[in-house]
C-alpha cells in the first residue's frame, strides 16, 4: 500500500504544469508547436488579462492560440506572428512589454524612484549636523597630559 502511494506521489510530481492547449489545437510539426507554445506563454489573454493565452480556458484565448499556430504554419517568423496579434489587440497582449517611448516609465520607473530615493537619502545624511570633532581642544590636551603624567609619577 505504502509503495503504491509512493509511486503515485512520484508520478504526480513528474507532471508539469499543463497549459490550456488542447490536443486538437497542436501542430503536427513538433518544432513549430514548440515555437507556438513558447510564444503563447508570453501573450496575454485579453479576457482574463492576468493569464497568458497558453494558460487560459477562455474561448477567445483558444482562438488566439489557433491563429498564432496558423500564422506560424503560414511561414511567419515569431516576430511577425506576434505582430499580427499586437496589430489587433495592442501591445497590451505582450506580457513582456517592448521597450518604447511610452513604456519607458514602465521599464525605468522603479530605477528612477530608487535613484531619487538614494539621492534624497544622500542629501539628508550629508546635511545632518557634522559629527562632533574627534580632536581635542588645547585645554583638553593639557588635561589629558596632566592625568597621564600624574599616573607615571604615581
Amino acid at each position: 500500500m505504502k509503495r503504491l502511494l509512493l509511486i503515485a506521489v512520484a508520478a504526480a510530481s513528474l507532471a508539469g504544469p499543463a497549459g490550456a492547449v488542447n490536443p486538437d489545437e497542436q501542430m503536427a510539426d513538433p518544432a513549430m508547436e514548440a515555437r507556438a507554445h513558447k510564444l503563447s506563454r508570453d501573450l496575454r489573454c485579453v479576457v482574463c488579462q492576468n493569464q497568458s493565452i497558453d494558460d487560459s480556458d477562455a474561448a477567445l484565448a483558444r482562438d488566439l492560440r489557433i491563429i498564432l499556430r496558423e500564422r506560424i504554419a503560414a511561414g511567419d517568423t515569431d516576430e511577425q506572428a506576434v505582430a499580427f496579434l499586437v496589430a489587433r489587440y495592442g501591445s497590451f497582449v505582450q506580457l513582456q512589454p517592448p521597450m518604447r517611448f511610452d513604456t519607458l516609465a514602465l521599464w525605468f520607473g522603479p530605477l528612477a524612484v530608487l535613484l531619487a530615493g538614494g539621492i534624497g537619502a544622500a542629501i539628508y545624511i550629508r546635511g545632518r549636523a557634522p559629527a562632533r570633532s574627534a580632536t581635542l581642544s588645547a585645554e583638553e590636551e593639557a588635561e589629558v597630559a596632566e592625568l597621564l603624567n600624574s599616573d607615571k609619577a604615581g
Partner: protein
C-alpha cells in the same frame, strides 16, 4: 530652505496617493483600441437572417454607422437590446455582427426580441471580430463616412452612453465631409 526639503517625501507620497486613488476608479478591462482612425478591416459575412443579405465592409461608408457585435449567449446584450431598438426607431444606421454564435441562435434572438439592425452578418468563427480587436460582446464601433473606425465602445450602450458619447459623436461625423 533645508527645512522645506523634508517636506519633499510627503509631497511625493501625496502625489502617488492621488495617482493611485484616481486609478482605483478606472476599469482595467477597458483597453485602448488599435483600430481608431483606421479603415474597417475587409470582411464579408454571411447573413444571419435567412434569405437576407449578409454584411460586408462595402456596406459601410457613405454615412456614419454603428457596428454592434452581439451574441445570443451574451447577458449584457440582453440589457442593451431594448436601447438598440430605440436607436433604430430614431433612424440611426446600426449594423450587427453575431459573434462566435450559432447562426440559428443569432437569428432566433432577432426574431424573439426584435431586429434593430440594417445589415446583420454571422461571424461564427469570430475572426472578423478578432480582426477588429473585439475581446467580448457587446462591443460597438463607430464608423465614419469614409469607412474608418472612429470610436470603440466596450459594453452595453445605455441611454447615458448614447447621450454623452455616441450620439454627439454620430452628429459630428454626419457633419464631416
Amino acid at each position: 530652505m533645508r527645512r522645506l526639503l523634508f517636506l519633499a517625501p510627503v509631497v511625493v507620497f501625496v502625489a502617488v496617493l492621488i495617482g493611485f486613488f484616481a486609478g482605483l476608479g478606472r476599469d482595467p478591462t477597458l483597453l485602448p483600441s488599435t483600430m481608431i482612425d483606421k479603415p474597417v478591416p475587409a470582411f464579408s459575412l454571411p447573413p444571419v437572417r435567412p434569405e437576407a443579405q449578409g454584411f460586408a465592409t462595402t456596406d459601410l461608408g457613405g454615412e456614419p454607422a454603428l457596428v454592434n457585435f452581439y451574441a445570443s449567449w451574451c447577458a449584457a446584450c440582453r440589457i442593451e437590446h431594448p436601447f438598440l431598438m430605440r436607436l433604430r426607431s430614431q433612424g440611426v444606421t446600426l449594423h450587427g455582427v453575431d459573434w462566435k454564435d450559432e447562426r440559428e441562435a443569432g437569428f432566433k434572438w432577432l426574431a424573439d426580441r426584435g431586429d434593430p439592425y440594417v445589415r446583420v452578418g454571422h461571424d461564427g468563427s469570430g475572426r472578423t471580430g478578432i480582426d477588429m480587436g473585439v475581446s467580448a460582446v457587446p462591443e460597438t464601433f463607430v464608423v465614419d463616412k469614409r469607412g474608418r473606425v472612429r470610436y470603440r465602445h466596450v459594453g452595453a450602450i445605455t441611454a447615458e452612453v448614447w447621450e454623452q458619447k455616441l450620439g454627439p459623436m454620430m452628429e459630428k461625423l454626419r457633419a464631416e465631409l
